[in-house]
Symmetry: C2
Subunit: 164 residues, 2 copies
């Protein structure tokens, strides 16, 4: 359940909107008074009415995740008005492709080495380092893949730590 700060204080949303915080306030469980910026951000980016509508459209047990994802997006958009969190997607997509290429190349090296046609072992070990420092560059949205159902369907797993 969400942060349950049902005190006498109005929630951050009602305080921001200068209205009375009623017992059934849709915002209260997710916007505690101690986190005023969380609501201010989602209000600025999405608007209080849109957030309220969205919360009413999802199941009660999904509302905390919904609010947290909205807060994440809103914070990203405040920090980067042009790309918002889509910039992070672009960075990560590039990183996945780069790592996959590195992995394919390392596997190919391994096979070559095993077959006896490889170069000296001193070259190995550099790839992991190369890949791990390559997160700071990306090219706007030109690289972004279209939305795919595998990323955006509603069959998300809710396990806390997926096995490898």
């Amino acid at each position: 359940m969400a942060s349950s700060s049902y005190t006498n204080s109005p929630c951050a949303a009602c305080k921001f909107l200068r209205r009375k915080c009623l017992a059934d306030c849709i915002f209260a469980p997710y916007f505690p008074p101690e986190e005023p910026t969380k609501f201010a951000n989602v209000h600025k980016i999405f608007g209080a009415s849109n957030v309220s509508k969205l919360l009413n459209e999802v199941q009660p047990h999904q509302r905390e995740d919904a609010v947290n994802s909205l807060a994440y997006e809103a914070e990203a958009r405040m920090k980067d008005p042009v790309y918002g969190c889509v910039g992070a997607i672009s960075v990560l997509q590039r990183q996945v492709i780069r790592l996959q290429k590195e992995l394919d190349a390392t596997n190919a090296d391994l096979v070559r080495y095993a077959s006896g046609s490889a170069r000296p072992p001193s070259q190995y070990g550099r790839r992991a380092t190369t890949a791990s420092v390559s997160t700071r560059h990306h090219s706007g949205l030109s690289f972004l893949s279209p939305l795919s159902s595998s990323h955006h369907d509603s069959t998300y797993c809710h396990d806390k730590e997926e096995g490898n």
Copy 2:
């Protein structure tokens, strides 16, 4: 520059909002009448007023990217009201970590093999496959890293194809 469909038709935004599309319409260059859904989505998720404010806050040359990232986020949120495009970030972050682990392990195998203590070569080559099919599972937002300045600063490169 954005899709420049300055015809006699009102832009998709003005048509949706049932208002006259003036020559200096802030939406017109980015919401052509042929793409009505693009505006409908950003209107539903962010609100026309917020989109207009955001466009006025960024430089004219950044507006097309800003609109496209908003449209991407809006579409993601329509498809997945709980996680929106933050779901994709979670998937990609897991994928990066998994690939990095695979790469580290493969490099370690390579070093072991080179030093003469490795197992037979038949085991090699499976890792790339394992990693590449592991994109469909993630665990809500529990796995999401906090926003970092490396992903969200304003120093994005605008090169179309970054070198590897």
